[in-house]
């Protein structure tokens, strides 16, 4: 499949902001599952943009806006073609649970087996995982069982959580959006030693189109496989990956700091359009306004916060 993706984030500050430093993770990489044909990033006010690769090989754009400004626009356009990764049969026996630890050692999965900013491994999570797996002895089937469990255990509820919601609160409240589904699923997998990482990207379906989050698990000899706990299915060619990390904290679409007011509005628009030969068909548009208000004085502050709302667009 071939897609054109437009992702536009704009901030309006109620009083001028300055000294804004930003890292943007919006450029999808070319990997076996997808080829990026073109990518462009537009920032207003106009500034020079630098690009680097982070520790997890994600592509990051960095820019600074020192001057006083009332609004900030970040707009990316991607043209990408995806390939259908052959789905694995659900009853395949790929790696016995007792062996999952072996290859993990050599394959540098350390980071994806630990607690991280939004994922905590504790006895309660481990118990949930053990019960969900039951008597399954294969790691692949165990992972599918954990995904199914996450899907049933949590209720998809837009705006029920925010971008900094920790996995343990999601487990307690049993609702959330795709980011929370991914975090819970990651926690369950890691607690039974299945390496799991967080993926941010886009999902093009007929009903919704927005940024999405899912999970990749690692199986010895097979490698990383993408599973989407929000939909209880394996990722297919409708998924476009932007990047991965230990959890959301490693791959926020926009992060940084600025001097100025916390009172600002943010709007996000994502359009994923399927490209078919010459004709272009537009699936859908998602956009939303969110308002944050605070009486706190001007301070250094993260500007990534409302991104979660955007992720919440995906309907389960």
């Amino acid at each position: 499949m071939k897609y054109e993706i437009l992702h536009r984030t704009s901030y309006t500050y109620l009083s001028p902001a300055r000294e804004s430093f930003n890292d943007v993770r919006l450029e999808p990489p070319s990997i076996p599952e997808q080829t990026v044909e073109s990518f462009s990033l537009r920032v207003e006010p106009e500034v020079r943009v630098n690009r680097y690769t982070d520790f997890y090989s994600n592509l990051v754009h960095h820019f600074e806006i020192p001057a006083v400004h009332n609004s900030l626009l970040i707009e990316s356009r991607v043209r990408v073609s995806t390939r259908w990764p052959e789905p694995l049969p659900e009853d395949a026996k790929l790696c016995p649970m007792v062996r999952i630890g072996d290859a993990v050692d050599s394959e540098r999965c350390f980071d994806f087996l630990q607690s991280s900013r939004y994922v905590d491994l504790d006895v309660d999570v481990w118990k949930l995982a053990i019960d969900a797996i039951g008597d399954r002895e294969d790691a692949w089937q165990a992972a599918l069982a954990l995904m199914g469990f996450t899907y049933k255990y949590l209720k998809y509820l837009p705006n029920s959580t925010h971008v900094y919601t920790h996995m343990r609160d999601v487990i307690e409240n049993r609702c959330g959006v795709c980011q929370d589904f991914a975090h819970v699923f990651i926690g369950l997998c890691r607690s039974v030693k299945i390496p799991a990482r967080y993926v941010s990207g886009y999902l093009a379906t007929e009903t919704a189109s927005a940024t999405h989050a899912w999970t990749e698990i690692y199986l010895p000899k097979i490698g990383w496989r993408a599973l989407d706990p929000t939909h209880d299915r394996q990722a297919d060619e409708t998924y476009v990956k932007i990047g991965h990390g230990r959890d959301y904290a490693d791959v926020p679409p926009v992060s940084g700091s600025y001097h100025g007011t916390l009172e600002r509005t943010m709007s996000v628009e994502v359009k994923v359009t399927e490209v078919r030969g010459q004709s272009q068909e537009q699936f859908s548009t998602a956009g939303r306004q969110s308002q944050e208000q605070s009486s706190k004085p001007a301070a250094l502050e993260e500007s990534e916060a409302p991104e979660k709302k955007e992720a919440g667009e995906t309907a389960a």
Binding site: H62, E64, P66
Partner: protein, 475 residues
């Protein structure tokens, strides 16, 4: 003066149980012994007053009785003979070389991990391992530019390494000020005895900092970045900046434009090329590390990444400070240099290794337990001196978080005659030499001798009731 002085077990720096005063102390003893008690007292008081007047102080965190204290100074110098010093120099040079190679390796190919010389787990789980800087080439390939390595001596007088401070080691200003005070108090003594000078340190430091300047900058601007007046080492920051003739700045004095760092001055903006930062990684750039930091400079890390500004020490050296990494330094020396360590470690147990943990938990009352990422004597259990409650508290912490703890046998530090309560008594000492890595490695002769002023105490940290002595290295 040492008439009633008794050595009481442990190695005494000045006295040998059999032959009396050690050879390298004899000249000093002769000159010092001719001093009348009243003269000695006058000198002592003069020195104390001078320290107070000059504001040579440090802060104690969590002390309600007032933050700033003078660092108590003892007039009796610790003397190191030339042959011992050369041994130390060789050992420290070897160690810093291995540490810098190690840091370069774990932030690049990670050969030492792939070859399983050090388990990957310990590095990747290190609180101060900076993933953000993997594959980043630091200026001139040097990570630790200023290192303070703590040395102690066991009961046979062998020097052992207690820990490496590869982030922002402090204390060197006391080395310089102690020497100044001693020269004033005993003007004639130095030449007669032949003591190596330490006064060149600020110039050597500046030289190593300038060496780091980004390519193409002929006359680099170097600044010292301090967290501010409430930091425990603020005196030292101002002192070193003054001695080097460079600006001392806080985060708010600097800003980043187009990935270049500038300093606000009364004469307008001035580009900055090298930052001697006395502020931890966590606080250096709120954009990348701690978001709540008001001490750092937003965008600094990206300027560093772009190669437009150099930092000393580099970002990410904290992993070498990790007390668990300390355990592996002898292996690093073998791996990278194919040499035997010249200065051995203190025997150490890692709580994350099952056999070691078992041993630690069974022998807590005999061991010294240290948290892997604390310094200044905080987060430490002295088993033999601790109460039952404290031991149990540590037991729980070790079981909950084994990666975060190491244990060592209690080493009886060497002792040195020290003036206490109107007479000379033995007090335990350690030694922190300062190692500079620039174009070449440079160690100022001696270092900071810290002394535990409480009788029998083995904790020399200034925050825990320690004092200091001038350290003389002889020609």
């Amino acid at each position: 003066m040492l008439k009633n002085y008794r050595t009481n077990g442990g190695y005494d720096e000045m006295l040998d149980g059999k032959t009396g005063i050690r050879a390298h102390y004899r000249k000093f003893n002769k000159l010092f012994g001719s001093l009348k008690p009243s003269d000695f007292n006058a000198k002592r008081q003069a020195v104390d007053k001078a320290f107070l007047r000059q504001g040579i102080t440090f802060n104690v965190y969590g002390d309600a009785a007032g933050a700033e204290k003078i660092f108590p100074f003892d007039l009796l110098p610790r003397i190191i003979p030339a042959n011992e010093w050369e041994h130390l120099e060789r050992g420290l040079t070897q160690r810093i070389t291995a540490l810098n190679l190690f840091l370069h390796d774990i932030y690049h190919e990670q050969k030492i991990l792939k070859d399983r010389v050090i388990p990957e787990f310990y590095v990747l789980s290190g609180r101060h391992f900076r993933r953000e800087f993997v594959n980043f080439n630091v200026p001139k390939g040097i990570y630790i530019h200023v290192c303070g390595t703590d040395l102690i001596r066991d009961k046979d007088g062998n020097y052992l390494v207690l820990e490496d401070n590869g982030r922002c080691p402090s204390g060197v200003s006391y080395v310089l000020e102690n020497r100044r005070a001693m020269k004033r108090a005993f003007p004639g003594m130095f030449e007669g005895i032949g003591v190596r000078p330490v006064e060149t340190y600020p110039q050597e430091l500046l030289k190593s900092l300038k060496f780091l300047a980004p390519a193409g900058v002929a006359d680099p601007t170097v600044v010292l970045l301090t967290p501010g007046a409430y930091n425990s080492a603020y005196f030292e920051h101002t002192y070193l900046a003054r001695q080097m003739g460079i600006e001392i700045v806080e985060g708010r004095d600097l800003f980043v434009r187009d990935q270049r760092v500038f300093m606000r001055t009364t004469k307008g903006l001035q580009p900055v090329h090298v930052i001697y930062r006395r502020i931890d990684d966590d606080f250096i750039d709120p954009m990348v590390f701690r978001k709540d930091s008001m001490l750092g400079v937003p965008g600094l890390v990206h300027a560093y990444r772009a190669g437009n500004v150099s930092l000393a020490n580099s970002i990410g050296t904290g992993i070498a400070d990790d007390k668990v990494m300390y355990y592996f330094v002898p292996r690093m020396i073998k791996y990278y240099l194919n040499q035997e360590p010249i200065l051995p470690n203190v025997p150490t147990y890692l709580a994350s290794e099952e056999a070691d943990r078992k041993y630690i938990l069974e022998h807590l009352p005999q061991l010294v337990v240290k948290a892997a990422n604390e310094s200044g004597g905080y987060g430490m259990l002295m088993g033999p001196k601790a109460g039952r409650d404290e031991i149990e508290k540590f037991r729980k912490q070790i079981i909950a978080e084994p990666r975060n703890y190491i244990a060592q046998p209690m080493i009886c530090l060497s002792q040195h005659p020290t003036y206490c309560n109107g007479k000379f008594e033995g007090r335990h000492v350690d030694l922190r030499p300062y190692i500079l890595s620039g174009e070449k490695i440079c160690i100022i002769p001696g270092g900071l001798t810290r002394v535990a002023l409480r009788k029998g105490s083995l904790v020399v940290n200034s925050s825990q009731g320690g004092g200091s002595k001038d350290t003389w290295v002889l020609y």
